[in-house]
Amino acid sequence: MTSNNTILRFGLFHRFGHFLIIISFFGLVLTGMPLVFKEYAWARFLYNLMGGYPTAGNIHRICALITFLAAFLHFAFLTFETLVRKNRNIFWGPESLLIQPKDILNILGDVLWFFRLGKRPQFDRYIYWEKFEYLSLMWGTMVMGVTGFILWFPVQSASLIPAYVATFIDLPSIALVAHRYEALLAAGFIFSIHFLHTHLLPENIPVDEAMFTGRIDEGHMKHERGAYYERLKEEGQLEELKVQPASRKAKFVSKMMGLPLLAVGLLMVGFMLSSLICSIIFVLADLTKNINFDIFSVFAF
């Protein structure tokens, strides 16, 4: 028996879902984010690069449909697992992506570890911040989907509410505000926090290939998700999950896909952050415009 120490972490279905989300998310951000930072030259350049007014909007809508497809596949998977396979692990237990009591303990343990007061807790299949990322993705997709549809069909959606309510609740405007700031939240989160947490950690730099090849090294897994590894060993599932290591080709392809996306994302977050700082400085300058405080007056006496 050959010594095989590669473990399958993500099946083909989940990798495909993640791939769909990557494509659509980048398309959505590149065509949508310029509209938020409309005052800045990079935004205008990027928007025209993506095809200008009708084209960029159409790309945005196509990408939105791809996101809906991914969401549909995900919920179909959840229904299939719960109703047909009677798999209860999805909602409760160590395999679940929902917040469990143990995660609270893990967070507290991690806080202690930050201040060097203890060892890092052993994580199970999903670490608590991955669960937050998953839940915020679910919430974000829901908000973006609903508000996006309102903006896509403003006349029809405005007709859903009677005119006397519309004088207080203007659906398209509310949808625009929610869509814009939820987008800032999502793009900023994915391009900074998600990238730093998974790909740019000291042990994974530059790209964590687990989501592209689906495979993870046994030693790496033992270090990253100790509790999961021990549990698999006890239950005897470890041998079942062992697969052939990823071919060099697959590793190369996943690096070639991951690195440009990483670069584009970090570039976007750089642009967004610098523009945000500029805007805040403008607001502060505007606020202090009427204050005639002469710094040299201290030398007057």
Partner: protein
């Protein structure tokens, strides 16, 4: 020299060449006569006479012009860009320079330097001028003592004021937003916060995206609270319906100028809250307007953004630091063994 003369005589001695030269001469004469005898040229001076000098940088120079309304001094080039002029609203076949510069009618050759200002209204554009000058916008400006703009203030071409743009000219549509926004700064910024303003800020100003004039009217500019205006309850459905077919009663309640990024809005809200005992109506009107929901949503989202990034950013930095320290520790303990 003599040999050159000889060869030319030889060539013209050839009968074929001679015939060809004669026929081409005749043909060009015919062309010249037909062109100069066309109907319009009999009645008016040709533009080409003016353009002969006014397209030649050696013939004409720059001139200082003082706007007789605003007193603005500018240096204007007297050169005419023929292509830009022909693309302009007055560049068609049946327009002549002297139609507008009427004081030059009948003059030939060099003319005196200071012409009369062009009168757009008297003979041609009396309708829009009347609706503008008697509209509430112009009246309000007179009341406030603001100098009324002339036609040429808004209808100025990209490179020269003379190239009056057509209504759907992209530069003109962009310029109108800036010119309206020059006075109505508050509304300009809130327009930029709305979807229409976002797209026009990207440089797309085609007729499929609303600029100021598409909603507020072009020359008859009335306050939007006026029922007669294009945004009055009766007319708004038609105005919005130009782009959004089937605009309903609830659709026209759209907040086109959201105030949630306007510092003045927050200031007035604070003042209203401070005066709540004296004048509760102020607070009521703020709460009743649709702006309040947008503002609450905006402030909420800013809060969420700040909290999320502060929290996860710290978490990120600390876990990076922790991992690096752990690695160093592991190396040291290996070293000890």
């Amino acid at each position: 020299m003599v040999s050159l003369l000889k060869t030319t005589i030889d060539v013209f001695g050839d009968s074929k060449v001679c015939r060809f030269a004669f026929i081409s001469c005749l043909y060009s004469c015919l062309l010249f006569f037909t062109s100069s005898f066309s109907l319009e040229n009999l009645c008016a001076q040709d533009n080409s006479e003016c353009l002969e000098c006014h397209t030649d940088p050696a013939e004409v120079d720059v001139k200082v012009r003082i706007d007789h309304v605003t007193g603005e001094v500018e240096i204007v080039s007297m050169l005419v860009d023929a292509d830009a002029y022909h693309a302009s609203a007055h560049g068609g076949e049946d327009f002549y320079c002297i139609d507008c510069h009427a004081d030059l009618e009948g003059s030939e050759g060099e003319h005196y330097p200071n012409l009369q200002p062009v009168d757009c209204i008297t003979f041609c554009h009396d309708d829009p001028a009347e609706t503008f000058l008697e509209g509430s916008h112009a009246n309000l400006m007179r009341e406030k003592g603001v100098a009324l703009p002339t036609c040429k203030h808004c209808h100025a071409g990209e490179k020269s004021k003379r190239d009056t743009p057509r209504a759907d000219n992209l530069y003109h549509r962009m310029d109108t937003i800036e010119k309206c926004g020059g006075c109505h700064t508050k509304y300009y910024h809130s327009y930029r916060n709305n979807l229409h303003g976002q797209v026009t800020a990207m440089g797309h100003v085609g007729t499929d995206i609303a600029t100021c004039v598409d909603c507020h009217g072009q020359h008859t500019i009335l306050n939007s609270s006026d029922p007669e205006s294009t945004l009055g309850p009766e007319n708004a459905k038609e105005t919005c319906g130009k782009c959004h077919p089937g605009a309903s009663d609830s659709f026209i309640k759209h907040v086109a100028h959201p105030q949630y990024k306007n510092l003045g809005y927050y200031k007035s809200a604070i003042v209203a809250l401070l005066n709540i005992r004296k004048d509760p109506g102020q607070v009521k009107s703020i709460i009743k307007s649709p702006q309040i929901i947008l503002t609450i949503l905006f402030v909420m989202y800013v809060g969420i953004l700040v909290i999320t990034f502060a929290q996860f950013g710290t978490h990120m930095l600390l876990s990076w630091l922790g991992t690096l320290l752990d690695e160093r520790k592991g190396k040291e303990s290996e070293h000890d063994k």
